[in-house]
Symmetry: C2
Subunit: 153 residues, 2 copies
């Protein structure tokens, strides 16, 4: 179980967690650098959701490093249940945040065509949303692997 691909305490699992941290941080960084983002509820929610994702993924990445260094087995149904629930909750929050931000960004850039008319940093919003979707993709893989392991034990 310890060597299950993407599972807790495996090298691939650690890579997924670090990827989640990296892209969620990048999404926050790009969004914060865009002026006027705080006027939009969707973008504020994106930052909150990505912030939660960074905290969660960083915590589990530290646990993975600990498990790999001291060769500890994390195959405990209670611990795995906790990880699975946390992963699912953050995955749904990330997808909701990314989608709502994408909805607003598409409205501005395509439907209303505000980007070419007004001083709105659309490209930064788009990059931030793209990073948040990549984050969601990684956390979705982690969630599926976690749920699968939990269903199998």
């Amino acid at each position: 179980m310890k060597n299950s691909i993407g599972g807790p305490g495996s090298v691939s699992g650690l890579m997924l967690r670090l990827g989640q941290c990296l892209f969620a941080s990048a999404s926050i960084g790009v969004m914060v650098s865009a002026s006027g983002f705080s006027s939009y509820t969707a973008y504020c929610y994106l930052i909150a959701s990505m912030g939660l994702q960074v905290l969660w993924s960083l915590g589990l990445a530290c646990l993975d490093i600990y498990a790999l260094k001291f060769k500890r087995d994390l195959q405990n149904p209670v611990v795995l249940s906790l990880f699975a629930v946390g992963d699912w909750v953050t995955a749904f929050l990330s997808l909701a945040a990314a989608s709502s931000s994408a909805g607003v960004t598409i409205l501005y850039s395509r439907d209303l065509d505000f980007c070419s008319l007004q001083q709105i940093p659309c490209s930064r919003f788009q990059i931030s949303v793209a990073f948040s979707f990549i984050t969601w993709f990684f956390i979705a893989i982690s969630s599926l692997v976690m749920f699968w392991i939990l269903g199998s034990i």
Copy 2:
């Protein structure tokens, strides 16, 4: 397995499918009745996603009725895998559609305060988005049950 709560071929599973059909249809109906919805990409995507959801849930509801009537067992790994993948794909599409529409609706009603100024049927948009979130809630339960059954067999 046939009697697993919310699983395929069970009464609770059939109720979940009918609930998904009902709320997805209601979401489409309310959205279509709102004038000017077609100007917004997010709302068009919501209708497309809810339409797919109705087709998928109706198909599985018919299969549940067939299984209940003729007392057939649907516990086949290949069939269950197909259901699980379909459920997950439609669940993610529904959440993305509901969230992006919610992002646009919140932008209009709160951030820009357009609802009180212009002739936009905000209340219909809000009701439609609420129905789509209820649809997602039902399909999320179905997806979790399906994945759990698949991981257990």
